[in-house]
C-alpha cells in the first residue's frame, strides 16, 4: 500500500510568488501533512506559517483530551524562533509596531497512523479498518476525508457559512493567544485503502464546501488536476467567476493507493513547483 501526496499552491492574484503567505510541509515517511495560512493583516506572517507547519511535521502536539494545553507549550520555541528571525533594529517605526503585534496564522496538521503504531485506543475499529488518522486545527484551514466517493469528514469547519474573514488564529505574540487555547480542535477517525484526504486553505476550502452543499462532488475536480497548468487554470477560472476568494491558495491531495513507490521529498517549498508529487510505501 502506498501513500501519495500532491501539493498545489498559488499566491493571491496580483501578488508575487514572494508574497505568498500560506505554507505547507509534509513527511511521507512520517505520514504527516500540514498547511497554514498567514494572515494578511499581520507582517512576517510567511515565516510564522512556515515555522508552524515545520514544527508540526517535526513534533506534532497531539493531545486528544486537552489539545490546547499541549499546543501552548509546543508553540513557545516557535515564537522565540520567529522573534529572533527579525532584525528589529533595522525596522522603521511602522514595521516595528506591526511586528510587535505579532504574526498570525491558521494551522491544520494531519497524520495517518498504521494500526500498529496507533498511540491511542481506536474505539469502533473493525477488521476492515487498517489505518487511523488524526488531525488538529486552529483557524479555517480545512481537512476533507473522502471514502467510497463520499465526504465522510470535514474538519474543523463543516459548513460554508462558518467561514468569515476574522478567524481566531495562532499568534507569534503570546499575549494574543489566550483566547485560542480553548479553540484548538482535534479529530480522529478510521480510513481505508483508496481513501483520499484533501487539505485546503480557506479560499479553496470555502469553495469546496459550497460545491458540496450544492450537490456536487468537488473532490473529483481537485483530483483531476494533474499539472501545474491545470491547477492555475482552475483557480483563475474560479476567482474570475467569483466562485473562490482571491487569496493565497494551497492544496494538498493525499491518497492511499497501490501506485508505484516513488520518493520525491523536497526540502524547501519556495523551490518547489506549484504541483509536486510524492509517493511512499507505508
Amino acid at each position: 500500500m502506498n501513500l501519495s501526496v500532491r501539493t498545489c499552491w498559488l499566491p493571491k492574484g496580483g501578488n508575487s510568488v514572494d508574497e505568498y503567505e500560506d505554507a505547507f510541509d509534509c513527511s511521507i515517511l512520517g505520514r504527516r501533512f500540514a498547511i497554514a495560512d498567514g494572515a494578511t493583516e499581520s507582517s512576517f506572517a510567511a515565516p510564522w506559517a512556515k515555522s508552524l507547519v515545520s514544527g508540526f511535521i517535526e513534533t506534532p502536539p497531539f493531545d486528544s483530551s486537552q489539545p490546547g494545553t499541549r499546543m501552548k507549550d509546543w508553540i513557545e520555541p516557535l515564537q522565540k524562533l520567529w522573534r529572533e528571525g527579525i532584525d528589529w533594529q533595522a525596522l522603521p517605526w511602522y514595521s516595528e509596531e506591526k511586528a510587535r503585534a505579532g504574526a498570525f496564522s491558521s494551522l491544520l496538521g494531519f497524520e495517518i497512523e498504521t494500526h500498529d503504531d496507533s498511540r491511542e485506543s481506536s474505539p469502533g475499529l473493525t477488521s476492515r479498518d487498517v489505518l487511523r488518522w488524526r488531525a488538529l486545527a486552529v483557524g479555517d484551514s480545512c481537512l476533507f476525508h473522502v471514502s467510497g466517493d463520499a465526504l465522510v469528514a470535514s474538519f474543523p469547519l463543516r459548513k460554508a457559512n462558518e467561514f468569515g474573514n476574522r478567524p481566531l488564529l495562532l499568534s507569534s505574540n503570546p499575549q494574543n493567544n489566550e483566547a485560542v487555547w480553548t479553540e484548538v480542535r482535534y479529530h480522529d477517525g478510521a480510513c481505508h485503502p483508496a481513501d483520499m484526504f484533501i487539505l485546503a486553505t480557506d479560499a479553496l476550502a470555502h469553495w469546496f464546501l459550497r460545491c458540496y452543499e450544492s450537490g456536487s462532488k468537488p473532490w473529483k475536480d481537485l483530483f483531476s488536476l494533474n499539472t501545474e497548468g491545470d491547477f492555475a487554470a482552475f483557480v483563475a477560472h474560479s476567482r474570475e467567476n467569483h466562485l473562490m476568494s482571491n487569496d493565497d491558495t494551497t492544496l494538498l491531495l493525499v491518497s492511499i493507493d497501490n501506485g508505484v513507490v516513488e520518493i520525491r521529498e523536497s526540502a524547501d517549498q519556495k523551490e518547489m513547483r506549484p504541483i509536486e508529487d510524492c509517493k511512499e510505501a507505508i
Partner: protein
C-alpha cells in the same frame, strides 16, 4: 453587492479627511480644560493615519492600499498636511509612512504596582492643529467633490472613497447638505462615496456612535450632520458588531464627541485575526 470590491495595490481605495480649522476650534474640550478642540482633532487625525499606515504594513514595507487627502477649512480651504507633505493633495500610503515627523510625547502607563508612571513614546505627526477664521464647510465639500470626481473616473471599479468630516459647529458659508450630496452621489461600480461625520462639542454631552436616528442629538447642527451621513455598508456593520458594538441596520456614519479610529479596523483588506486588537 456594493462595498465588496477588493482593496489592493492594483485597485486602491481613498480617504479624504475634512478638518474644521475655524477659530472656535481653539475652545477647550468638555471635561478636558486646557486641551483645545483643535489639538484633540489633530491628535485624532494623526492616530487615524498611524492606524492606516500600520494596517497597510507588510514585512517588506507599506502597501499602497489607500490614497489619503487632508483638506482643512477655516481662514482658508485647501490641503492641510504639514511638513514634508505640505501642499500635497492625494498621497499614497507608502509616502504617508515615510513622511511622518516624530514627536516625543509622554503618556501614563500602568506601573504594574497599582499606579501610573509616565513613559515617553514616539508620536507620528502629519497634521498640526490650526484654529482661525470661519467655517467654510461648503467650500471644503466643493473641493472634495472636484478631487473625487477625478479620482473615481480613474478608479471606476475600486472600493468607493470614504470622506470623514470632523467639525465642531455650523457652516458659515451656507447649508452644506446639497454639496455634501453631490459628493456622495459620486460612484464607482462598487457603490457611492461614503460620508462620515464626526461632531465634537464643548458641551459635556455623552458620546454617541453610529446612531440609527437623530433622536437624542442635542442640536440642529448635529441633526443636519447626521442626515448628511451615509448609512454604513453591511460588511462594516458586521465587523463592528463582531467587536461588540451595538450597530443597527440603518446605522449612519456619524459620531458625536467620539472618535472614528475603530472604523479603520472594520475595512477589509484581507484576513484580520479576531484575536488581533
Amino acid at each position: 453587492m456594493p462595498y465588496t470590491a477588493e482593496i489592493s495595490r492594483k485597485s486602491p481605495s481613498c480617504f479624504v479627511f475634512l478638518i474644521d480649522q475655524s477659530g472656535s476650534m481653539s475652545d477647550s474640550l468638555a471635561g478636558e480644560p486646557g486641551k483645545r478642540k483643535a489639538d484633540k482633532v489633530a491628535d485624532s487625525i494623526n492616530r487615524l493615519l498611524q492606524n492606516l499606515v500600520i494596517k497597510c504594513t507588510k514585512s517588506e514595507g507599506v502597501r499602497d492600499f489607500f490614497e489619503v487627502a487632508v483638506i482643512g477649512y477655516g481662514a482658508k480651504v485647501g490641503p492641510a498636511f504639514s511638513g514634508k507633505l505640505a501642499g500635497s493633495t492625494l498621497v499614497p500610503m507608502s509616502q504617508i509612512a515615510s513622511s511622518a515627523r516624530i514627536e516625543p510625547r509622554t503618556k501614563k502607563v500602568d506601573d504594574q504596582a497599582g499606579g501610573l508612571v509616565e513613559q515617553t513614546i514616539n508620536f507620528q505627526v502629519w497634521f498640526d492643529a490650526v484654529a482661525s477664521g470661519g467655517t467654510p464647510m461648503c467650500e471644503a465639500f466643493n473641493q472634495t467633490h472636484n478631487l473625487l470626481e477625478d479620482w473615481v473616473s480613474h478608479h471606476s471599479s475600486s472600493y468607493p472613497p470614504i470622506v470623514i468630516n470632523i467639525t465642531d459647529g455650523e457652516a458659515t458659508d451656507g447649508d452644506p447638505t446639497p454639496v455634501a450630496q453631490s459628493v456622495t452621489s459620486l460612484t464607482t461600480s462598487d457603490g457611492n462615496v461614503l460620508l462620515l461625520n464626526c461632531h465634537i462639542s464643548a458641551s459635556p454631552a455623552s458620546p454617541i456612535a453610529y446612531p440609527e436616528s437623530d433622536n437624542g442629538l442635542s442640536d440642529e447642527f448635529a441633526r443636519l450632520l447626521f442626515r448628511m451621513s451615509s448609512v454604513l455598508p453591511e460588511n462594516i456593520r458586521a465587523a463592528a458588531r463582531s467587536e461588540g458594538m451595538a450597530v443597527g441596520d440603518q446605522a449612519r456614519g456619524f459620531v458625536f464627541n467620539a472618535d472614528l479610529e475603530a472604523l479603520i479596523r472594520f475595512l477589509d483588506i484581507g484576513t484580520r485575526p479576531s484575536n488581533l486588537r
